[in-house]
Symmetry: C3
Subunit: 365 residues, 3 copies
Amino acid sequence: MGILPFVAELGLIDHHCHGVLRTDSTREEFESLLLEADAVSPLGGSFFDSALGFAVRRWCAPLLDLPRHASAEAYLERRNSLHITEVSRTFLMASGIHTFLVDGGFQPDRLLSGAELGSLAGVVSHDVVRLEHLAEELRPSVSPSEFLDAVRSRLASSSAVGAKSVAAYRVGLDLPGARPVDSDVVLAVEAWSSGRLVSPVVITWLAWEALDAGLPLQFHVGYGDSDIDLHRCDPSLLTPFLRATASLGVPVLLLHNYPFHRQAGYLAQVFPHVFCDLGLATHGLGHQAPRVLAEALEIVPYGKFLFSSDAFGLPELYYLGALLFRRALSEFLSDGLRRDAFLEEDAHRIARLIASDNAARVYKL
Amino acid sequence: MGILPFVAELGLIDHHCHGVLRTDSTREEFESLLLEADAVSPLGGSFFDSALGFAVRRWCAPLLDLPRHASAEAYLERRNSLHITEVSRTFLMASGIHTFLVDGGFQPDRLLSGAELGSLAGVVSHDVVRLEHLAEELRPSVSPSEFLDAVRSRLASSSAVGAKSVAAYRVGLDLPGARPVDSDVVLAVEAWSSGRLVSPVVITWLAWEALDAGLPLQFHVGYGDSDIDLHRCDPSLLTPFLRATASLGVPVLLLHNYPFHRQAGYLAQVFPHVFCDLGLATHGLGHQAPRVLAEALEIVPYGKFLFSSDAFGLPELYYLGALLFRRALSEFLSDGLRRDAFLEEDAHRIARLIASDNAARVYKL
Amino acid sequence: MGILPFVAELGLIDHHCHGVLRTDSTREEFESLLLEADAVSPLGGSFFDSALGFAVRRWCAPLLDLPRHASAEAYLERRNSLHITEVSRTFLMASGIHTFLVDGGFQPDRLLSGAELGSLAGVVSHDVVRLEHLAEELRPSVSPSEFLDAVRSRLASSSAVGAKSVAAYRVGLDLPGARPVDSDVVLAVEAWSSGRLVSPVVITWLAWEALDAGLPLQFHVGYGDSDIDLHRCDPSLLTPFLRATASLGVPVLLLHNYPFHRQAGYLAQVFPHVFCDLGLATHGLGHQAPRVLAEALEIVPYGKFLFSSDAFGLPELYYLGALLFRRALSEFLSDGLRRDAFLEEDAHRIARLIASDNAARVYKL
């Protein structure tokens, strides 16, 4: 159950992550950033007693010169004795990720930007524009009738390599199967004077505009924090939207997907422009990531699956996202080789596709 | 694939079960109580040809002094040659369950009460009040305007350690995210003169009242008999209710959950007051329980998962629920140890949390 | 991980498949028939880079006298050097399927009929009447008022051993729980002058008529091509229909089911007339079929599960459907034997039930 040598050496493109925290964390902040809960519950005990908590103790402790399985207390004490920049650099560089695609539109004040993240790790980074954040930033400074052109202009001139929709968090994924007409969008923008964007019309329109601008479009799908209603984040709810946008030929990327990763694989198989990943779940599942990655790879063509960490805030998560992905992919490929399902050269090609080639093709990197 | 010694010796709190039958069973009754069907179908053959049927022959036969894998005929003949009380005591005591939390509100005439169950097994038992049953009992004897106070008074004076809602069976789990106002409840009670309670308003109100009374609240989720519409029993449908009740700080427990156990784990992770289990499925899956328990433990913090059997009627089910849970938990922990995911002392702590510590904390036992 | 000898020798009844292509295929046609996509996407790469693509290279190449894992190019070149009839006969005969139940109502011009398929393979075949196809054929030649009797007459005189509904593709599976009254059906037929049938009333009525005619009724469920909305193909949506039809005593068969195979197992357990399979997924998953077959067999009584290939067009798919099913069933049974879950004679009986006995009983073959 080690990592196959050729998987260990794969350079990774992390096609979806966020920035690391600018500052140290208290134990409470650290624990709450480990999982998707807002805070640790006294009813439920420490989040170190979770698959991910144990993975931190097992895998991250040695990078801070502690023994494997160091206690949570020893780990946090050691961590806080170091400068956060040093901690972040250590984990980012150990991840073997050579390119980050960074959604910088969530809690930007608290986190390093994409450029800062790349610079800290000494690797390449690209921005992914978060559509709802862009719209919320623009809204106060333009009239409803100007809003549409302002968004279009920003997308057309953006240096981002992709766009991201958090429709899942705002309205769920059952977006309509038709492009909203401009006049309806203007009316919806008029009704939304400022603040959090929750208009299905505007959110759907933003997704279409991103595709029109040729930007590969990421959707948050499935597992996330308590803001979502999980059953409204089933990716198959996106089917009408996917059917309507297939002919545009611009990639749509389904992020995370757990526990709907089989549904995501189905969509990636049947729609030519759809791709998927297992970000967040890969590290969130700790030592159980291999089974779920294997499930995610059941029916998806190997040219349609990408690596991402969805790491946020804690540098440990980039490292664990990459490490646990490598371990899970190794186990998947070893199992296939043991079953004589494919040749070793095929295993290498599958690994390269998923680690970076698919992302390079999709985002034209 | 044996049971780890420290798991074999765990005393269990069964936080959700029913009583055993008062009387012997015919073969037809026995088979129909094995699975969730109303009756055996001549189209489909014997229910002994199922994962659970084989588990009875493999594991229960030796406790009745028969060889492993005794035939169904031999098993039932031997069983009926013994007094049902002796059979029940044998299986209950062999389970290693030291505390039963008993929902006595379904078919009470046919089953031992919680107190009788505990007495027969020589262990502790506590009652869990079934809300819809309580309401249906009270309804004929009070006016609609008296009904609310009557329920409140019963809950306030109850000796039960928790409450249970079968909203799943009556209206599905998409309960509203707001507390019903009393005047609406009175109207709904007026419209319901007697009999089976199927009013969403009243059922939702009962759930809130249980929490107000400080009673940990169990919900039937997922897998059950043919009365349910399974897609309406997805626990993520409860999200608005869970979001609205989080601040009360009273535990909510998602029972069974199969095949939505991953969704349940997500909810238990993100909501501070939510817990889950895999009751019913553990024994229903027979020798395949280990994989599903491992799935159920993917993202749930280990302080949020409980043991239950959901055994009903047949004493074999308490024993198999406990035994197959021990085997599945052992396999989960052995796999973690084999992967060096955690230390042996961590494995012990995880086991104790799930076997009894979490239940003791949640129900204040 | 080989095939258990008694599983290797099982004669199979394929209770749901289509015909093979009449003609040779280009590479593009071949790839698009491998998976459920309409066409290969330049964005996503070759479909040979998929679980099923690798299974073709591994398992089918040797039957065409090529080495295991021959390249896609070598495989297609060799295949096209042979007559398609020879290729088809080779794979059909190697499958060990002795009886085909053929849905001939989809793309009949392009495919061999059921009788032709059986004749080519030298085995028995029976027809399954595709209800929507039958209705669409009849509609132009009869008035709305004649339509009902025309359908009834065709079903009553049909030589088919079963009927199939593609409600999943037309209206989703949430059919009403009551039989449509004739006058409503006539109105719905009036509103549908010709062409593709998408009336929920007519589609539901057809399903009832098939059961009235005593024809076991197959439903497409879950995984299929991009025409479906996957979340509308969850078999638990059929619950009201299944509850309403249980008393008729005519079998209802849930086909494919992936990724809702656990839901299907639940329905097959609790409803006396419901059966399920894992067709399409068995070969679509390639070397990962064993895990998913094991999942599908978690709670379904073994008298309620059937083999089918759902093969369509490519003769390789019948062979792979049967081969990968045998491998997956072997692994399931070996695992059970290794865990001492049942005796070897039980394993044999389970295998025979699933391979052919259940189908023979359901379809009265």
